[in-house]
Amino acid sequence: MTKLNLSLPGLDLKNPIMPASGCFGFGKEFSEFYDLSELGAIIIKAATGETRYGNPTPRVAETSAGMLNAIGLQNPGVDRIISDELPYLSNYDTPVIANVAGSTVEEYVEVAEKISQSSTIKALELNISCPNVKEGGVQFGTDAALAAEVTRQVKQASEVPVYVKLSPNVTDIVGMAKAVEKAGADGLSMINTLTGMRLDLQRRKPIIANQTGGLSGPAIKPIAIRMIYQVYQEVDLPIIGMGGIETVDDIIEFLFAGASAVAVGSANFKNPFICKELIDQFPEAMERYGFDQVEEMIGGAHR
Protein backbone atom coordinates (compact mmCIF):
# COMPACT_ATOMS: atom_id res chain seq x y z
CA MET A 1 0.00 0.00 0.00
CA THR A 2 1.40 3.36 -0.94
CA LYS A 3 1.34 5.84 1.89
CA LEU A 4 0.62 9.31 0.59
CA ASN A 5 -0.05 11.07 3.85
CA LEU A 6 2.40 12.92 6.01
CA SER A 7 2.44 15.33 8.90
CA LEU A 8 4.08 18.71 8.83
CA PRO A 9 3.86 21.40 11.51
CA GLY A 10 0.14 22.16 11.84
CA LEU A 11 -0.75 20.14 8.78
CA ASP A 12 -2.04 16.62 8.46
CA LEU A 13 -1.77 16.14 4.74
CA LYS A 14 -3.54 13.23 3.08
CA ASN A 15 -1.22 13.77 0.17
CA PRO A 16 1.60 16.23 -0.51
CA ILE A 17 -0.17 18.17 -3.28
CA MET A 18 -1.90 21.52 -2.84
CA PRO A 19 -2.74 24.58 -4.94
CA ALA A 20 -0.40 27.58 -4.55
CA SER A 21 -1.49 30.92 -3.18
CA GLY A 22 -3.02 33.31 -5.66
CA CYS A 23 -3.71 30.63 -8.23
CA PHE A 24 -6.77 29.13 -6.58
CA GLY A 25 -8.62 32.13 -5.16
CA PHE A 26 -10.44 31.01 -2.03
CA GLY A 27 -11.24 27.66 -3.54
CA LYS A 28 -14.86 28.22 -4.45
CA GLU A 29 -14.38 28.37 -8.21
CA PHE A 30 -12.49 25.08 -8.25
CA SER A 31 -15.08 23.31 -6.11
CA GLU A 32 -17.16 23.23 -9.28
CA PHE A 33 -14.49 21.12 -10.93
CA TYR A 34 -13.76 18.57 -8.18
CA ASP A 35 -14.17 17.86 -4.49
CA LEU A 36 -11.72 20.09 -2.61
CA SER A 37 -11.45 17.43 0.10
CA GLU A 38 -9.19 15.52 -2.27
CA LEU A 39 -6.47 18.14 -1.92
CA GLY A 40 -3.56 17.73 0.47
CA ALA A 41 -4.19 21.30 1.58
CA ILE A 42 -5.31 24.63 0.13
CA ILE A 43 -3.22 27.78 0.22
CA ILE A 44 -5.57 30.70 -0.18
CA LYS A 45 -4.97 34.07 -1.82
CA ALA A 46 -2.94 36.61 0.16
CA ALA A 47 -4.74 38.47 2.94
CA THR A 48 -3.85 42.04 3.94
CA GLY A 49 -5.19 44.23 6.73
CA GLU A 50 -7.57 46.20 4.54
CA THR A 51 -9.30 45.64 1.23
CA ARG A 52 -6.84 46.11 -1.62
CA TYR A 53 -7.79 46.78 -5.19
CA GLY A 54 -4.44 45.79 -6.60
CA ASN A 55 -2.66 46.97 -9.71
CA PRO A 56 -4.13 48.33 -12.93
CA THR A 57 -4.71 45.87 -15.77
CA PRO A 58 -3.26 44.17 -17.81
CA ARG A 59 -2.02 42.06 -14.95
CA VAL A 60 -0.83 38.97 -16.79
CA ALA A 61 1.31 38.18 -19.83
CA GLU A 62 2.52 34.96 -21.35
CA THR A 63 6.23 34.17 -21.72
CA SER A 64 8.14 31.13 -22.98
CA ALA A 65 7.19 28.25 -20.69
CA GLY A 66 5.91 30.75 -18.16
CA MET A 67 3.83 33.78 -17.39
CA LEU A 68 4.12 37.11 -15.65
CA ASN A 69 1.60 38.39 -13.16
CA ALA A 70 1.22 41.59 -11.21
CA ILE A 71 -2.09 41.23 -9.43
CA GLY A 72 -0.84 43.41 -6.61
CA LEU A 73 -2.34 41.48 -3.70
CA GLN A 74 -5.93 42.31 -4.53
CA ASN A 75 -8.06 40.88 -1.72
CA PRO A 76 -11.07 41.82 0.37
CA GLY A 77 -8.98 42.25 3.52
CA VAL A 78 -8.53 39.87 6.42
CA ASP A 79 -11.86 40.54 8.13
CA ARG A 80 -13.96 39.82 5.08
CA ILE A 81 -11.85 36.81 4.21
CA ILE A 82 -12.64 35.45 7.66
CA SER A 83 -16.32 36.28 7.45
CA ASP A 84 -17.05 35.64 3.76
CA GLU A 85 -14.53 33.10 2.49
CA LEU A 86 -13.41 30.78 5.28
CA PRO A 87 -16.85 29.45 6.24
CA TYR A 88 -17.21 27.91 2.81
CA LEU A 89 -13.80 26.25 3.02
CA SER A 90 -14.60 24.82 6.44
CA ASN A 91 -17.02 22.47 4.67
CA TYR A 92 -14.11 20.55 3.26
CA ASP A 93 -11.89 18.04 4.97
CA THR A 94 -8.69 19.80 3.91
CA PRO A 95 -6.31 21.95 5.94
CA VAL A 96 -6.32 25.57 4.80
CA ILE A 97 -3.14 27.65 4.82
CA ALA A 98 -3.55 31.42 4.91
CA ASN A 99 -1.13 33.52 2.90
CA VAL A 100 -0.35 36.61 4.97
CA ALA A 101 0.88 39.87 3.45
CA GLY A 102 1.32 43.46 4.51
CA SER A 103 3.12 46.75 3.97
CA THR A 104 4.46 47.01 7.50
CA VAL A 105 5.43 44.58 10.20
CA GLU A 106 2.37 45.75 12.11
CA GLU A 107 0.08 44.85 9.24
CA TYR A 108 1.63 41.38 8.94
CA VAL A 109 1.13 40.90 12.66
CA GLU A 110 -2.46 42.11 12.59
CA VAL A 111 -3.40 39.82 9.73
CA ALA A 112 -1.59 36.85 11.25
CA GLU A 113 -3.19 37.37 14.61
CA LYS A 114 -6.70 37.61 13.23
CA ILE A 115 -6.63 34.88 10.65
CA SER A 116 -4.74 32.35 12.75
CA GLN A 117 -7.60 32.41 15.23
CA SER A 118 -9.94 30.90 12.67
CA SER A 119 -10.34 27.19 13.31
CA THR A 120 -10.27 26.65 9.53
CA ILE A 121 -6.70 27.92 9.25
CA LYS A 122 -4.08 25.31 10.12
CA ALA A 123 -0.95 27.23 9.19
CA LEU A 124 0.20 30.56 7.83
CA GLU A 125 2.30 31.16 4.77
CA LEU A 126 4.14 34.39 5.43
CA ASN A 127 4.37 36.15 2.09
CA ILE A 128 7.53 38.24 2.29
CA SER A 129 8.16 37.77 -1.37
CA CYS A 130 5.46 39.40 -3.43
CA PRO A 131 7.33 41.37 -6.09
CA ASN A 132 4.24 43.18 -7.31
CA VAL A 133 3.48 45.76 -4.67
CA LYS A 134 5.29 49.01 -4.08
CA GLU A 135 5.34 48.75 -0.31
CA GLY A 136 6.09 45.67 1.76
CA GLY A 137 6.21 42.33 0.16
CA VAL A 138 9.50 41.86 -1.50
CA GLN A 139 11.73 44.16 0.55
CA PHE A 140 11.00 41.93 3.53
CA GLY A 141 12.01 39.00 1.40
CA THR A 142 15.30 40.33 0.13
CA ASP A 143 16.76 41.64 3.38
CA ALA A 144 17.62 38.92 5.88
CA ALA A 145 17.29 41.15 8.93
CA LEU A 146 13.85 42.40 7.92
CA ALA A 147 12.77 38.87 7.05
CA ALA A 148 13.86 37.65 10.46
CA GLU A 149 12.11 40.52 12.20
CA VAL A 150 8.75 40.01 10.54
CA THR A 151 9.02 36.25 11.07
CA ARG A 152 9.72 36.68 14.76
CA GLN A 153 6.81 39.01 15.32
CA VAL A 154 4.36 36.98 13.28
CA LYS A 155 5.39 33.84 15.11
CA GLN A 156 4.53 35.53 18.38
CA ALA A 157 1.17 36.66 17.10
CA SER A 158 0.15 33.47 15.37
CA GLU A 159 -1.82 30.63 16.90
CA VAL A 160 -0.69 28.25 14.17
CA PRO A 161 2.67 27.26 12.63
CA VAL A 162 4.25 29.74 10.24
CA TYR A 163 5.79 28.81 6.89
CA VAL A 164 7.85 31.63 5.45
CA LYS A 165 7.57 32.04 1.69
CA LEU A 166 10.95 32.97 0.28
CA SER A 167 11.68 35.17 -2.70
CA PRO A 168 14.07 33.81 -5.34
CA ASN A 169 15.15 37.35 -6.22
CA VAL A 170 18.10 37.21 -3.87
CA THR A 171 21.82 36.64 -4.06
CA ASP A 172 21.88 34.23 -1.14
CA ILE A 173 18.81 32.05 -0.69
CA VAL A 174 20.46 29.92 1.98
CA GLY A 175 21.22 33.01 4.06
CA MET A 176 17.58 34.08 3.86
CA ALA A 177 16.40 30.62 4.88
CA LYS A 178 18.77 30.48 7.82
CA ALA A 179 17.69 33.92 8.97
CA VAL A 180 14.01 32.98 9.13
CA GLU A 181 14.83 29.60 10.66
CA LYS A 182 16.64 31.34 13.47
CA ALA A 183 13.72 33.73 13.85
CA GLY A 184 11.45 30.79 14.59
CA ALA A 185 9.83 29.81 11.30
CA ASP A 186 8.17 26.39 11.41
CA GLY A 187 8.67 25.76 7.73
CA LEU A 188 9.57 27.30 4.41
CA SER A 189 7.62 27.75 1.24
CA MET A 190 9.64 28.30 -1.90
CA ILE A 191 9.79 29.75 -4.39
CA ASN A 192 7.73 32.81 -5.12
CA THR A 193 8.02 34.37 -8.56
CA LEU A 194 11.11 35.94 -10.16
CA THR A 195 10.75 39.54 -11.20
CA GLY A 196 10.46 39.81 -14.96
CA MET A 197 9.13 41.98 -17.76
CA ARG A 198 7.78 41.65 -21.25
CA LEU A 199 7.40 44.48 -23.72
CA ASP A 200 4.58 45.03 -26.14
CA LEU A 201 6.49 45.80 -29.33
CA GLN A 202 3.64 47.76 -30.89
CA ARG A 203 3.04 50.03 -27.93
CA ARG A 204 6.76 49.98 -26.96
CA LYS A 205 5.76 49.62 -23.33
CA PRO A 206 5.69 46.81 -20.79
CA ILE A 207 2.63 44.61 -21.38
CA ILE A 208 1.90 44.54 -17.66
CA ALA A 209 0.54 47.88 -16.43
CA ASN A 210 2.70 47.57 -13.31
CA GLN A 211 5.70 47.28 -15.69
CA THR A 212 7.32 44.32 -13.92
CA GLY A 213 5.56 41.12 -12.95
CA GLY A 214 6.36 37.86 -11.25
CA LEU A 215 7.57 35.06 -13.50
CA SER A 216 6.10 31.64 -12.77
CA GLY A 217 5.68 28.37 -14.62
CA PRO A 218 8.02 25.65 -15.94
CA ALA A 219 10.59 28.28 -16.97
CA ILE A 220 11.53 28.81 -13.32
CA LYS A 221 11.55 25.18 -12.20
CA PRO A 222 15.34 24.73 -12.47
CA ILE A 223 15.79 27.73 -10.19
CA ALA A 224 13.28 26.41 -7.68
CA ILE A 225 14.93 22.98 -7.66
CA ARG A 226 18.37 24.51 -7.17
CA MET A 227 17.24 26.71 -4.31
CA ILE A 228 15.36 23.94 -2.52
CA TYR A 229 18.31 21.59 -2.98
CA GLN A 230 20.69 24.14 -1.47
CA VAL A 231 18.41 25.14 1.39
CA TYR A 232 17.61 21.51 2.29
CA GLN A 233 21.31 20.93 2.89
CA GLU A 234 21.70 23.80 5.32
CA VAL A 235 18.38 24.30 7.04
CA ASP A 236 16.32 21.98 9.22
CA LEU A 237 12.81 23.04 8.26
CA PRO A 238 10.21 21.30 6.13
CA ILE A 239 9.81 22.92 2.72
CA ILE A 240 6.66 23.34 0.66
CA GLY A 241 8.12 23.40 -2.86
CA MET A 242 6.69 25.16 -5.88
CA GLY A 243 7.66 26.72 -9.17
CA GLY A 244 6.59 25.31 -12.50
CA ILE A 245 5.00 22.04 -11.42
CA GLU A 246 2.89 20.51 -14.19
CA THR A 247 3.46 16.75 -13.93
CA VAL A 248 3.93 14.01 -11.33
CA ASP A 249 7.57 13.78 -12.42
CA ASP A 250 7.95 17.45 -11.52
CA ILE A 251 6.54 16.70 -8.06
CA ILE A 252 9.00 13.86 -7.58
CA GLU A 253 11.85 16.14 -8.62
CA PHE A 254 10.80 18.65 -5.93
CA LEU A 255 10.57 15.92 -3.28
CA PHE A 256 13.99 14.51 -4.20
CA ALA A 257 15.44 18.03 -4.06
CA GLY A 258 14.18 18.38 -0.52
CA ALA A 259 10.54 19.52 -0.50
CA SER A 260 8.19 17.77 1.91
CA ALA A 261 5.11 18.81 -0.02
CA VAL A 262 4.42 20.79 -3.17
CA ALA A 263 2.15 23.54 -4.40
CA VAL A 264 0.87 23.92 -7.94
CA GLY A 265 0.39 27.46 -9.15
CA SER A 266 0.05 28.70 -12.72
CA ALA A 267 -0.71 25.21 -14.02
CA ASN A 268 -4.22 25.64 -12.58
CA PHE A 269 -4.80 28.20 -15.32
CA LYS A 270 -3.91 25.80 -18.10
CA ASN A 271 -5.94 23.05 -16.56
CA PRO A 272 -8.28 23.70 -13.65
CA PHE A 273 -8.35 19.97 -12.92
CA ILE A 274 -4.58 19.73 -12.57
CA CYS A 275 -4.34 19.25 -8.79
CA LYS A 276 -6.85 16.44 -8.78
CA GLU A 277 -5.25 14.79 -11.79
CA LEU A 278 -1.81 14.92 -10.20
CA ILE A 279 -3.15 13.47 -6.97
CA ASP A 280 -4.77 10.63 -8.91
CA GLN A 281 -1.61 9.91 -10.88
CA PHE A 282 0.78 10.22 -7.99
CA PRO A 283 0.67 6.74 -6.38
CA GLU A 284 1.54 5.07 -9.67
CA ALA A 285 4.42 7.49 -10.24
CA MET A 286 5.77 6.76 -6.77
CA GLU A 287 5.74 3.07 -7.52
CA ARG A 288 7.47 3.62 -10.83
CA TYR A 289 10.40 5.11 -8.95
CA GLY A 290 10.30 2.41 -6.31
CA PHE A 291 8.65 4.16 -3.38
CA ASP A 292 5.62 3.40 -1.29
CA GLN A 293 5.88 6.26 1.18
CA VAL A 294 6.09 9.94 0.41
CA GLU A 295 8.31 10.47 3.43
CA GLU A 296 11.02 8.28 1.95
CA MET A 297 11.22 10.44 -1.14
CA ILE A 298 11.89 13.72 0.63
CA GLY A 299 15.48 14.78 0.01
CA GLY A 300 16.10 11.65 -2.04
CA ALA A 301 18.77 13.37 -4.13
CA HIS A 302 20.89 14.01 -1.04
CA ARG A 303 21.49 10.38 -0.13
Binding site: G22, C23, F24, G25, E29, F30, E32, F33, K45, T51, Y53, G54, T57, P58, R59, V60, A61, E62, T63, A65, G66, M67, N69, I71, Q74, P76, I207, G217, S266, N268, F269, K270, N271, P272, F273
Partner: protein, 255 residues
Protein backbone atom coordinates in the same frame (compact mmCIF):
# COMPACT_ATOMS: atom_id res chain seq x y z
CA UNK B 1 -21.39 24.14 -15.63
CA UNK B 2 -17.94 24.71 -17.11
CA UNK B 3 -16.33 21.63 -18.52
CA UNK B 4 -13.00 20.92 -20.13
CA UNK B 5 -12.90 18.75 -23.18
CA UNK B 6 -11.05 17.98 -26.38
CA UNK B 7 -13.46 19.35 -28.96
CA UNK B 8 -13.25 18.26 -32.55
CA UNK B 9 -12.81 20.88 -35.23
CA UNK B 10 -15.48 20.11 -37.80
CA UNK B 11 -14.97 23.11 -40.02
CA UNK B 12 -12.48 25.91 -40.29
CA UNK B 13 -12.30 28.62 -42.90
CA UNK B 14 -11.02 32.10 -43.55
CA UNK B 15 -13.91 34.56 -43.80
CA UNK B 16 -12.11 37.91 -44.01
CA UNK B 17 -8.64 39.37 -43.70
CA UNK B 18 -6.88 37.43 -40.91
CA UNK B 19 -10.33 36.37 -39.72
CA UNK B 20 -11.48 32.76 -39.37
CA UNK B 21 -14.60 30.83 -38.51
CA UNK B 22 -14.26 27.53 -36.71
CA UNK B 23 -16.98 25.08 -35.76
CA UNK B 24 -16.32 22.78 -32.81
CA UNK B 25 -18.14 19.62 -31.77
CA UNK B 26 -18.51 18.20 -28.27
CA UNK B 27 -20.50 18.15 -25.04
CA UNK B 28 -19.69 21.72 -24.12
CA UNK B 29 -22.40 23.45 -26.20
CA UNK B 30 -25.08 21.81 -24.03
CA UNK B 31 -23.77 23.85 -21.09
CA UNK B 32 -24.18 27.27 -22.70
CA UNK B 33 -26.48 29.53 -20.68
CA UNK B 34 -26.57 32.73 -22.70
CA UNK B 35 -25.13 34.46 -25.72
CA UNK B 36 -22.04 36.43 -24.74
CA UNK B 37 -20.31 33.61 -22.90
CA UNK B 38 -16.85 32.54 -24.05
CA UNK B 39 -14.69 29.48 -24.39
CA UNK B 40 -11.15 29.42 -23.01
CA UNK B 41 -8.87 27.59 -25.43
CA UNK B 42 -5.48 26.03 -24.80
CA UNK B 43 -4.14 26.29 -28.33
CA UNK B 44 -0.84 24.56 -27.70
CA UNK B 45 -0.06 22.40 -24.69
CA UNK B 46 3.18 24.33 -24.19
CA UNK B 47 1.34 27.65 -23.88
CA UNK B 48 1.02 29.00 -20.36
CA UNK B 49 -2.30 30.73 -20.82
CA UNK B 50 -5.52 29.86 -22.55
CA UNK B 51 -7.12 32.27 -25.03
CA UNK B 52 -10.66 33.52 -24.48
CA UNK B 53 -12.88 33.53 -27.57
CA UNK B 54 -16.57 34.39 -27.61
CA UNK B 55 -19.17 31.89 -28.61
CA UNK B 56 -20.44 33.34 -31.88
CA UNK B 57 -23.13 30.76 -32.43
CA UNK B 58 -24.17 27.40 -31.04
CA UNK B 59 -26.47 24.51 -31.68
CA UNK B 60 -26.65 22.68 -28.36
CA UNK B 61 -28.80 19.93 -29.83
CA UNK B 62 -26.14 19.09 -32.41
CA UNK B 63 -23.32 19.69 -29.96
CA UNK B 64 -21.70 22.39 -32.08
CA UNK B 65 -20.50 25.87 -31.41
CA UNK B 66 -18.96 28.45 -33.70
CA UNK B 67 -16.12 30.82 -32.93
CA UNK B 68 -14.89 33.68 -35.07
CA UNK B 69 -11.43 34.96 -34.40
CA UNK B 70 -8.84 37.29 -35.78
CA UNK B 71 -5.10 36.58 -35.91
CA UNK B 72 -3.55 38.91 -33.39
CA UNK B 73 -0.49 37.16 -32.02
CA UNK B 74 1.17 33.83 -31.45
CA UNK B 75 -1.87 31.94 -30.20
CA UNK B 76 -4.38 32.95 -32.82
CA UNK B 77 -1.74 32.45 -35.52
CA UNK B 78 -1.24 28.87 -34.31
CA UNK B 79 -4.99 28.36 -34.13
CA UNK B 80 -5.35 29.38 -37.76
CA UNK B 81 -3.06 26.49 -38.76
CA UNK B 82 -5.31 23.84 -37.27
CA UNK B 83 -7.46 21.67 -39.48
CA UNK B 84 -10.79 19.92 -39.52
CA UNK B 85 -10.46 16.68 -37.62
CA UNK B 86 -7.91 18.11 -35.19
CA UNK B 87 -8.87 18.39 -31.55
CA UNK B 88 -8.71 21.45 -29.37
CA UNK B 89 -8.50 21.68 -25.56
CA UNK B 90 -11.48 23.86 -24.65
CA UNK B 91 -12.67 25.02 -21.24
CA UNK B 92 -16.08 26.60 -20.98
CA UNK B 93 -18.59 28.00 -21.32
CA UNK B 94 -17.19 30.83 -19.22
CA UNK B 95 -18.67 33.91 -17.64
CA UNK B 96 -22.05 35.55 -17.77
CA UNK B 97 -23.38 36.69 -21.08
CA UNK B 98 -26.30 38.84 -22.18
CA UNK B 99 -29.11 38.06 -19.73
CA UNK B 100 -31.75 38.11 -22.43
CA UNK B 101 -34.34 36.29 -20.36
CA UNK B 102 -34.61 39.14 -17.92
CA UNK B 103 -34.56 41.89 -20.52
CA UNK B 104 -37.78 43.60 -21.49
CA UNK B 105 -36.52 44.95 -24.81
CA UNK B 106 -38.76 45.17 -27.83
CA UNK B 107 -36.35 46.71 -30.27
CA UNK B 108 -32.66 46.01 -29.85
CA UNK B 109 -29.67 47.81 -31.26
CA UNK B 110 -26.46 45.80 -31.63
CA UNK B 111 -23.19 47.67 -32.04
CA UNK B 112 -20.10 45.61 -32.85
CA UNK B 113 -16.57 46.65 -33.68
CA UNK B 114 -14.09 44.36 -35.42
CA UNK B 115 -13.56 41.16 -33.57
CA UNK B 116 -16.21 42.30 -31.08
CA UNK B 117 -18.84 41.35 -33.63
CA UNK B 118 -18.93 37.57 -32.95
CA UNK B 119 -20.85 37.36 -29.65
CA UNK B 120 -23.48 39.70 -31.07
CA UNK B 121 -24.41 37.19 -33.72
CA UNK B 122 -25.53 34.50 -31.29
CA UNK B 123 -27.29 37.23 -29.34
CA UNK B 124 -29.06 38.52 -32.46
CA UNK B 125 -30.30 35.05 -33.32
CA UNK B 126 -31.75 34.59 -29.86
CA UNK B 127 -33.31 38.04 -29.73
CA UNK B 128 -34.96 37.40 -33.07
CA UNK B 129 -36.30 34.08 -31.81
CA UNK B 130 -37.87 35.91 -28.90
CA UNK B 131 -39.57 38.24 -31.36
CA UNK B 132 -37.37 41.21 -30.58
CA UNK B 133 -36.58 43.46 -33.52
CA UNK B 134 -32.84 43.71 -34.22
CA UNK B 135 -30.88 46.54 -35.84
CA UNK B 136 -27.14 46.08 -36.18
CA UNK B 137 -24.25 48.48 -36.66
CA UNK B 138 -20.93 46.84 -37.54
CA UNK B 139 -17.64 48.72 -37.66
CA UNK B 140 -14.52 47.50 -39.41
CA UNK B 141 -11.14 48.89 -40.39
CA UNK B 142 -11.56 48.51 -44.11
CA UNK B 143 -13.34 46.48 -46.75
CA UNK B 144 -11.13 43.41 -46.44
CA UNK B 145 -11.90 42.99 -42.76
CA UNK B 146 -15.71 43.04 -43.10
CA UNK B 147 -17.44 39.80 -42.15
CA UNK B 148 -20.89 38.48 -41.20
CA UNK B 149 -22.78 41.39 -42.77
CA UNK B 150 -25.05 38.93 -44.64
CA UNK B 151 -25.62 36.78 -41.59
CA UNK B 152 -26.84 39.78 -39.61
CA UNK B 153 -28.92 41.03 -42.51
CA UNK B 154 -30.99 37.87 -42.32
CA UNK B 155 -31.96 38.94 -38.83
CA UNK B 156 -32.67 42.61 -39.36
CA UNK B 157 -31.42 45.89 -40.71
CA UNK B 158 -27.61 46.29 -40.88
CA UNK B 159 -25.33 49.31 -41.17
CA UNK B 160 -21.65 48.87 -41.88
CA UNK B 161 -18.94 51.45 -41.31
CA UNK B 162 -15.29 51.27 -42.23
CA UNK B 163 -12.63 53.59 -40.88
CA UNK B 164 -11.35 54.42 -44.34
CA UNK B 165 -14.66 54.35 -46.15
CA UNK B 166 -13.59 51.50 -48.42
CA UNK B 167 -16.92 49.82 -47.66
CA UNK B 168 -20.24 51.01 -46.25
CA UNK B 169 -20.22 54.32 -44.43
CA UNK B 170 -16.90 56.01 -43.82
CA UNK B 171 -16.15 56.56 -40.14
CA UNK B 172 -16.92 54.96 -36.83
CA UNK B 173 -19.96 53.12 -35.55
CA UNK B 174 -20.74 56.12 -33.38
CA UNK B 175 -21.28 58.24 -36.52
CA UNK B 176 -24.31 56.11 -37.36
CA UNK B 177 -25.90 56.13 -33.94
CA UNK B 178 -27.62 59.57 -34.12
CA UNK B 179 -29.60 58.42 -37.17
CA UNK B 180 -30.96 55.47 -35.20
CA UNK B 181 -32.31 57.48 -32.30
CA UNK B 182 -35.75 56.28 -31.35
CA UNK B 183 -35.48 53.05 -33.33
CA UNK B 184 -34.51 50.89 -30.33
CA UNK B 185 -35.01 50.70 -26.58
CA UNK B 186 -32.03 48.60 -25.51
CA UNK B 187 -28.57 48.28 -26.92
CA UNK B 188 -25.85 45.64 -26.79
CA UNK B 189 -22.27 46.36 -27.71
CA UNK B 190 -18.95 44.61 -27.99
CA UNK B 191 -15.66 45.87 -29.34
CA UNK B 192 -12.47 47.66 -28.37
CA UNK B 193 -12.51 49.62 -25.10
CA UNK B 194 -12.42 53.00 -26.83
CA UNK B 195 -15.41 52.08 -28.94
CA UNK B 196 -17.42 50.85 -25.97
CA UNK B 197 -16.71 54.07 -24.16
CA UNK B 198 -17.76 56.19 -27.11
CA UNK B 199 -20.89 54.12 -27.71
CA UNK B 200 -21.99 54.25 -24.10
CA UNK B 201 -21.50 58.01 -24.02
CA UNK B 202 -23.49 58.51 -27.24
CA UNK B 203 -26.27 56.23 -26.03
CA UNK B 204 -26.41 57.60 -22.52
CA UNK B 205 -29.92 57.17 -21.17
CA UNK B 206 -30.67 53.93 -22.96
CA UNK B 207 -30.54 50.58 -21.23
CA UNK B 208 -27.29 49.08 -22.45
CA UNK B 209 -25.12 46.00 -22.11
CA UNK B 210 -21.42 45.93 -22.90
CA UNK B 211 -19.10 43.02 -23.39
CA UNK B 212 -15.60 43.88 -22.18
CA UNK B 213 -12.16 42.44 -22.95
CA UNK B 214 -9.08 42.12 -20.79
CA UNK B 215 -6.13 39.75 -20.62
CA UNK B 216 -7.30 36.74 -18.65
CA UNK B 217 -5.37 34.41 -16.43
CA UNK B 218 -7.44 31.52 -15.09
CA UNK B 219 -10.68 32.47 -16.85
CA UNK B 220 -12.66 30.93 -14.00
CA UNK B 221 -12.69 33.75 -11.45
CA UNK B 222 -9.81 32.67 -9.23
CA UNK B 223 -6.78 34.78 -10.08
CA UNK B 224 -7.93 38.42 -10.16
CA UNK B 225 -6.14 39.04 -13.47
CA UNK B 226 -9.19 40.43 -15.20
CA UNK B 227 -10.74 42.87 -12.79
CA UNK B 228 -12.39 46.07 -13.84
CA UNK B 229 -13.28 48.79 -11.39
CA UNK B 230 -16.86 49.37 -10.26
CA UNK B 231 -18.08 52.89 -9.60
CA UNK B 232 -17.51 54.57 -6.25
CA UNK B 233 -19.84 53.18 -3.62
CA UNK B 234 -20.05 49.68 -5.04
CA UNK B 235 -19.78 47.21 -2.18
CA UNK B 236 -17.17 44.99 -3.79
CA UNK B 237 -15.46 47.73 -5.75
CA UNK B 238 -14.65 45.58 -8.77
CA UNK B 239 -15.94 42.96 -11.17
CA UNK B 240 -14.14 40.01 -12.71
CA UNK B 241 -14.55 40.02 -16.46
CA UNK B 242 -14.18 36.27 -16.74
CA UNK B 243 -16.70 35.45 -14.06
CA UNK B 244 -19.04 38.38 -13.41
CA UNK B 245 -18.80 39.44 -17.06
CA UNK B 246 -17.70 39.67 -19.80
CA UNK B 247 -21.11 41.35 -20.22
CA UNK B 248 -22.00 44.19 -17.87
CA UNK B 249 -24.87 46.60 -17.71
CA UNK B 250 -23.72 50.15 -18.49
CA UNK B 251 -22.64 51.86 -15.32
CA UNK B 252 -21.89 48.61 -13.55
CA UNK B 253 -18.19 49.06 -14.25
CA UNK B 254 -15.93 51.98 -15.12
CA UNK B 255 -14.83 51.85 -18.74
Amino acid sequence: MMIREEMEIISHERIAEDTYRMVLLGDLPAEIKQPGQFVHILIDQSDSLRRPISIADADPAKGTLTILYKILGKGTAALSKMQSGDHLDVLGPGGNGFLIDSISAERALLVGGGIGVPPLYYLARQLKEKGIEVTTVLGFQHEASVFFEEEFRELGEVFVTTNDGSYGNKGFVTDILPDLDGRFDTYFSCGPAVMLKAVSEKLDGYEGYLSIEERLGCGVGACFACVVQAPEGDAKGYRKICHDGPVFRTGEVIL
